[in-house]
């Protein structure tokens, strides 16, 4: 057993760091949109069911795997998995637990830098007097790095590098730095969120205008929470709920393993996992549903929300809505909104740095500063194409392959390793060791059978997403011998870039065709970069394995 040179300061600090890792921009932007698109109030039923049968078990699996690996001095997924099962292959599955974090951090810190920049712009009154269209255009101008909104050349790049530098500095302070940020950031995030949620819940019809005479915040809430029970029979809704639970908890990334690897065997992980998981749910269900949709419906009306609900609302709509509260309150609301998004972002991006740092420390004895700086450089190297070619689709490509597909693949594999290779009996014992709560024994069955099955369904659902996401029509088409028509959002169609190719075939003017062909080029470039990063990490793991063999530390 290895002597622990680093440790968490307190249990509350660890839980806040774990909750901060889970709470991200998706809690405020993805969840309400998913709910609106999938049956309103009825979405919450599959959502909470998936939280109990997939989310909580995955948290148990990742916390206990991490703590188990930590016993042997392993703080990142390659050797955490290696310590759980005999065989050389497992550590290479763990590549995902480093790869995903660097690739996601590359574009995630870019979004984080937007929130920093928007706090700045809110405070200096940039959005004062702007129309909704002007606010929306401001965002497009901002992400076009050639144009400056402040006079600072390459403003978006500078904010990105500044944001990355803040992350590197905090990471270089180790767990102590991360814990300190979580202890400040999470309470502030909740405070800002509560202030804005109270406004969203009490706005009512006071935001009506000549342009939007029917605007009403309660209509937004009504739509969000009125159940359409027939949607419960639609597989699309269940897959969307499972997907949302999956992404909101930050499982399948390797960050939870890394944080938990610093917990000793006799200390609880079960209550910690449940507590951090529910903290994330509070931010998502209570705060996330009470801000964007009701405030937007309160000023722009429900019809506008239904047409425009999406990620872009955070930056392209909210600053305009805040302006309706007068300059001082608008500046404060901008500070609260983008401040809470910033804290949601940074507590997650810091977590993404720890698997790389933990791995390099374990295998090559790198210090915190060296680990943090190299993580920052790798992230910058991967991230700059995202910044410069944002509008050409590099960002979306990273988000799809690293931030979506990789997570599902890794979570599925690690669940199989935990339940079937490591063995559910050993796994169950590991989860319960030192536990401060009694876990219902039904979870042993759920972890072994239900969770892997759910993950398999989520993966297959993404692999062969039917045309227009209409599972029932596709199933009927398949059983009547007409084949399974794939949607362009399915993994198979994404691999072949079918959507872009289809757009090219439909385009009539040369300019549009050229833009689309450019997107294919940049999309391929992004894929090459992701594959290169993956292979580099595989190589580093192979080198570390050779080193372990020389030192007589290799498990096989």
């Amino acid at each position: 057993m290895t002597v622990k040179t680093e440790s968490w300061g307190s249990r509350v600090g660890l839980i806040l760091a774990m909750a901060g890792n889970a709470v991200g921009l998706g809690n405020f932007l993805r969840f309400p949109v998913q709910a609106v698109q999938n049956g309103g109030g009825a979405f919450i039923i599959p959502y909470l069911v998936c939280f109990l049968i997939m989310g909580i078990p995955l948290l148990f699996i990742e916390w206990s795997s991490g703590r188990y690996g930590g016993k042997f001095g392993n703080h990142s997924t390659p050797y955490i998995l290696d310590s759980m099962a005999k065989g050389r292959i497992w550590k290479y599955i763990g590549v995902f637990g480093i790869f995903t974090n660097i690739a996601v951090a590359a574009y995630y810190t870019y979004i984080e830098s937007w929130t920093m920049s928007y706090v700045f712009h809110s405070l200096i009154g940039t959005f004062e007097g702007m129309t909704q269209m002007e606010v929306a255009n401001f965002f497009s101008t901002y992400v076009d790095v050639g144009i400056s909104t402040t006079g600072i050349p390459y403003e978006a790049v500078i904010f990105y590098i500044l944001c990355l530098a803040i992350n590197i500095y905090i990471l270089s302070r180790g767990l102590e730095g991360i814990e300190k940020v979580a202890k400040i950031g999470m309470p502030l995030l909740i405070l800002f969120g509560v202030i804005l949620a109270v406004r969203g819940l009490t706005l009512g019809a006071s935001g009506q205008s000549e342009a939007f005479p029917d605007a009403n915040a309660w209509e937004g809430l009504n739509f969000l929470w009125t159940p359409q029970f027939d949607s419960l029979a639609n597989p699309k809704v269940w897959l969307a709920a499972a997907g949302q639970i999956f992404f909101t908890l930050s499982v399948g990334m390797g960050t939870i393993h890394c944080y938990a690897a610093y917990v000793r065997s006799k200390d609880d992980i079960a209550l910690n996992a449940v507590s951090a998981g529910f903290m994330n749910e509070f931010v998502e269900v209570v705060l996330g549903s009470s801000i964007v949709i009701p405030i937007a419906a309160g000023y722009l009306g429900l019809d506008w929300v239904l047409e425009n609900a999406g990620f872009g609302m955070a930056f392209q709509t909210m600053p305009f809505l805040f302006q309706q509260w007068g300059p001082t309150l608008a500046a404060l609301a901008g500070l609260f909104w983008f401040g809470l998004l910033f804290f949601a972002g940074i507590t997650s991006s810091l977590a993404m740095g720890t698997p790389w740092m933990g791995f390099m420390k374990d295998e090559f004895n790198w210090g915190k500063i060296k680990g943090a700086v190299t993580f920052g450089l790798l992230t910058l190297l991967m991230g700059l194409p995202c910044v410069f070619f944002f509008q050409e689709g590099v960002f979306d490509e990273y988000d799809y392959w690293a931030g979506t597909v990789s997570l599902v693949i890794f979570a599925l594999l690690e669940t199989i390793v935990f339940s079937w290779v490591f063995g559910i009996n050993k796994g169950w014992k590991e989860i319960n060791e030192g536990s401060d709560i009694t876990i219902p024994s039904i979870y042993k069955f759920i972890i072994k059978y239900v969770t892997p099955l759910m993950l398999l369904l989520v993966f297959l659902g993404s692999l062969i997403t039917p045309l227009d996401n209409d599972w029932i029509a596709s199933f009927n088409s398949f059983t009547t011998g007409n084949g399974w028509l794939l949607d362009n959002s399915s993994i198979i169609k994404q691999l072949t870039q079918a959507g872009l190719k289809e757009q090219i075939s439909l385009a009539t003017d040369a300019a549009s065709i050229s833009v689309l062909e450019n997107r294919i080029f940049y999309s391929n470039m992004a894929r090459v970069q992701l594959i290169a990063l993956f292979l580099v990490i595989v190589l580093i793991i192979y080198v570390s394995y050779r080193k372990r063999r020389r030192e007589g530390r290799a498990t096989l």
Partner: protein, 48 residues
């Protein structure tokens, strides 16, 4: 808002908030494990 929407919203938010407070309260009131534990703030001598 219609009454069923209010019911669903209050039930969902209420149950999630109650569970969050309950589990966090359990964390705060759980008896500490004997030293050496995983946390350095309660150590008599600070760790490296």
């Amino acid at each position: 808002m219609n009454s069923i929407a209010i019911f669903i919203m209050v039930s969902a938010m209420g149950s999630v908030t109650t569970a969050t407070i309950y589990f966090f309260y359990k964390v705060l009131t759980a008896p500490p494990k004997p030293e050496p534990d995983s946390y350095s703030d309660n150590d008599e001598t600070p760790k490296e």
